[in-house]
């Protein structure tokens, strides 16, 4: 019955800072359940984030937690993993943090296929700074810096991750709460770079500017746009218009970076003998 989240949370840290109805809390709970399911050792697990609303998450968690600078989570995390490959490394962060200012680190972590799990909380906006458009804000939408509608095309974060070389890529939404932990569990167990994109809502800075009258409307939208990968095959392009595929989008086996470097060490030591 009731899930014991508290054993993963630092005493006295709740309530969290997120606004009423922010999907980050739902995604965080999914992440906690996934980490529990995988039985991650708290002492041997680093949680790394950048800057932004989602990046406040590690501060609540009773693990080795690192709240880095804006966009830099994947680069710090790469350092941790390379220096101590036996540690589990989990990155969390938002869309702006991960694929705008941190885009270079994100794609190169994918390319290296370094063994970490990166959970992107994609709420389509820079929430912490008051609602400026991000690389995932839909074209035409309103943000505090697109008062006449957003002229920018968008990134599809999951496609970006697949294109950059991540070997496990999955997507779900904050509405699909039980799918969040199922996908993150698969990501954590996957050897290599795993990206799990959680589509999420920011009622405070995105919803109220963009036709959503309530948090519940935003949740319903997440429910409506999600199409499981398996179902999409049977749908026409017209039916898929405006939809987003959910589930495991990509999975492959490719050498993991730290294992590759272990081979470098072997070759170096063999040559120097």
């Amino acid at each position: 019955m009731a899930y014991d989240y508290e054993k993963n949370i630092r005493p006295g840290k709740l309530p969290h800072i997120w606004c009423p109805g922010c999907g980050h809390g739902i995604a965080m709970k999914g992440l906690i359940r996934a980490m529990d399911t995988c039985g991650l050792d708290k002492n041997n697990t680093a949680m790394v984030s950048g800057i932004g609303c989602a990046s406040r998450l590690p501060g609540y968690m009773d693990y080795c937690t690192l709240h880095t600078a804006h966009g830099r989570a994947a680069a710090f995390a790469t350092g941790i993993k390379m220096a101590k490959p036996e540690m589990n490394v989990i990155c969390v962060g938002g869309d702006g943090d991960g694929v705008a200012i941190g885009g270079n680190h994100f794609i190169h972590a994918c390319r290296r296929n370094i063994d970490m799990t990166y959970v992107v909380f994609n709420n389509y906006i820079y929430g912490m700074t008051g609602g400026q458009f991000s690389p995932t804000t839909p074209t035409g939408d309103k943000a505090s810096t697109t008062p006449y509608g957003n002229p920018d095309p968008t990134f599809d974060i999951s496609k970006l991750a697949i294109g950059a070389g991540a070997t496990f890529v999955a997507r779900t939404t904050a509405f699909h709460a039980t799918q969040i932990d199922k996908l993150i569990v698969q990501g954590i167990k996957h050897k290599g770079m795993a990206v799990i994109e959680v589509l999420d809502d920011c009622p405070t800075t995105y919803g109220r500017r963009n036709r959503f009258r309530s948090v519940v409307d935003m949740m319903k939208r997440l429910k409506d746009i999600a199409v499981p990968v398996a179902a999409a095959g049977k749908m026409s392009p017209e039916q898929l218009e405006g939809k987003v595929l959910t589930g495991v989008l990509h999975q492959e086996d490719r050498p993991e970076y730290c294992e590759q470097y272990t081979e470098v060490i072997k070759r170096a030591q063999a040559q120097s003998e």
Binding site: G21, I26, A177, S214
Partner: protein, 67 residues
């Protein structure tokens, strides 16, 4: 699921609840209600322990226990 009906205890941690209304909106049996800015359990006997309120609560504010 109907066999579970009436055996639940729903705990609302009021100091965590931010009154977002998600749990009220997605409860399939209309157990919950807003009471100002905090959720309250209005019809416990209707609860089927589907856990949707707990799962979707972003604020760690609702727990569904066996009675």
């Amino acid at each position: 699921m109907s066999q579970n009906k009436g055996k639940a205890k729903i705990e609302v941690i009021e100091k965590y609840c931010k009154g977002c209304n998600i749990c009220v909106a997605f409860c399939p049996t209309n157990v919950l209600e807003m009471d100002g800015f905090v959720v309250k359990v209005a019809r416990l006997e209707e609860c089927i322990k589907c856990m949707q309120c707990e799962l979707r609560c972003p604020d760690f504010a609702i727990k569904v226990h066996d009675a």
